[in-house]
């Protein structure tokens, strides 16, 4: 698994580098951006925060627009910004749909044709990418956390819930919380996973939360930080189902573990993320011990 450097710039005293590599998971060339803080000069290994992008995003949107740099540099945290789907794999159905295909991986492993060979972003984020980063960079695999935006917020929440021992902390901006009830999810999950909806729950944060709480398997030492603008066009009509998450959290008696912050008038996009990014980096820094 060799890495090719596409571009490198300096940022807040560290480096932001775009890499490409041949992925055995998605069977195509994948790209990601990696921020390594100046702290790598002083420490053998630094903690790592995964940042998952939303629909229509590539590996560039989050690092370009989120304003992550100042606090990441201050705390000496590396951040990785993966792409959001396989690319250029010759699947015609992937071209013309904003919600299925390119930029719409939904951080799951597809089981249905024509998606099942390449659309395996869950395994890419949870298995291949961590191994690649650990093998090539001064990353401490025992200190990783995860966050994301919109579809990437769904990714961060579901990947965290399915791998609670792997991440120190989790947070999300305007996440899709109940994917199998969202119009996006109804459209995408039926194509990626098929019409048997029993398979959908494992990629649905609200359903995973209910299941884990019912089994008493939810870690009680982790706090979920979620920021949601009330001016978000996807909050009403209900694509994100944030209020359902709030209700579920209440019913499950988990309010002390969830900090779901509604911000008056804020939108779905990066102007909201950049306003509150420092709180998220601080949230993760505390859990990562830096």
């Amino acid at each position: 698994m060799s890495l090719t450097t596409v571009q490198q710039v300096k940022h807040f005293g560290g480096t932001l580098t775009k890499y490409s590599h041949e992925s055995s998971t998605t069977q195509c060339t994948m790209r990601f951006n990696l921020f390594l803080p100046r702290a790598v000069e002083q420490h053998a290994k630094v903690p790592l925060l995964y940042c998952l992008g939303g629909l229509t995003a590539t590996e560039d949107n989050f690092p370009q627009k989120s304003g992550f740099g100042a606090k990441a540099a201050e705390h000496g945290i590396a951040l990785v910004f993966p792409d959001t789907s396989p690319r250029n794999v010759g699947v015609a159905e992937a071209e013309d749909d904003n919600c299925v295909g390119y930029s719409a991986g939904f951080y799951l492993n597809a089981t249905q044709a024509p998606w099942e060979k390449n659309w395996r972003m869950y395994d890419y984020i949870v298995k291949e990418l961590p191994q690649l980063l650990e093998n090539n960079f001064p990353i401490d695999p025992s200190r990783t956390s995860i966050m994301g935006h919109s579809m990437g917020g769904h990714g961060a929440l579901t990947i965290f819930l399915k791998n609670q021992d792997r991440y120190k902390s989790v947070s999300a901006f305007a996440p899709i919380t109940n994917l199998s009830r969202s119009p996006w999810g109804l459209h995408a999950l039926s194509r990626y996973l098929g019409e048997d909806r029993s398979t959908w729950a494992e990629y649905d944060a609200v359903e995973l939360l209910k299941h884990l709480a019912g089994e008493k398997k939810l870690r009680n030492d982790v706090n979920f930080l979620i920021d949601q603008g009330t001016g978000d066009e996807y909050l009403n009509p209900d694509h994100l189902h944030t209020y359902d998450l709030v209700e579920t959290v209440k019913k499950l008696g988990l309010t002390s573990q969830f900090d779901i912050r509604f911000h008056d008038g804020y939108s779905h996009g990066y102007y909201t993320i950049s306003t509150f990014i420092n709180d998220h980096i601080e949230h993760h820094a505390k859990a990562l011990g830096v």
Copy 2:
């Protein structure tokens, strides 16, 4: 001169709004983004900082990627992000050239066909836009400053030098400092202004500086803050002529007024701007008295 609201979002407690309007100067529909800080709720009028974009930019690049928000909100400064050229005016020559035409206004008033009717970004920034902002928003016209990036850095420096009493302060990221000697300038100025190079000097920061210093007309109470990455692809080969500016400043005995900071390895783009934007906002805040 009526304004149409294209989009509005919240950002760091204030609002970022995209407006469009019919410009009498450029004879087309122009757009700009305006950040109004929360401070407008407490103050009758707030100071204003002009932020001029570079080649290929629109009114969106600087606000999306610069990270201006935190410090602007803290100091209660409004920022305006104009577009970089006229748009959709049916000039065929404007379509196929990255350095002349759309997104390449160079903040000058063109005198040659087919540009002279619409490519009047100097008058737009110095005359029409200030009047429009003053008429429609709680902006204090006696407290304005100007900064820019690359071609916009050229714009900020030249517009400041030609209107020293209008702005409290000036700064630039990776500015084109000596446009009439830059390949970009040779290409653009010959088209916009014609081959008579005596007309070029008024849109060339180094030439303006020499002239003003020679006439002893340079304000001595203003400091120029300029950030330049040494990894900037346009520094060598010499598109920006930053070292020439340094030499000129030395020869003119103006080193105490120029803070030209070279940053090891930093690139031409917004990852550099966002690293140092806070210093620029602080620089302007001090001059604006906030």
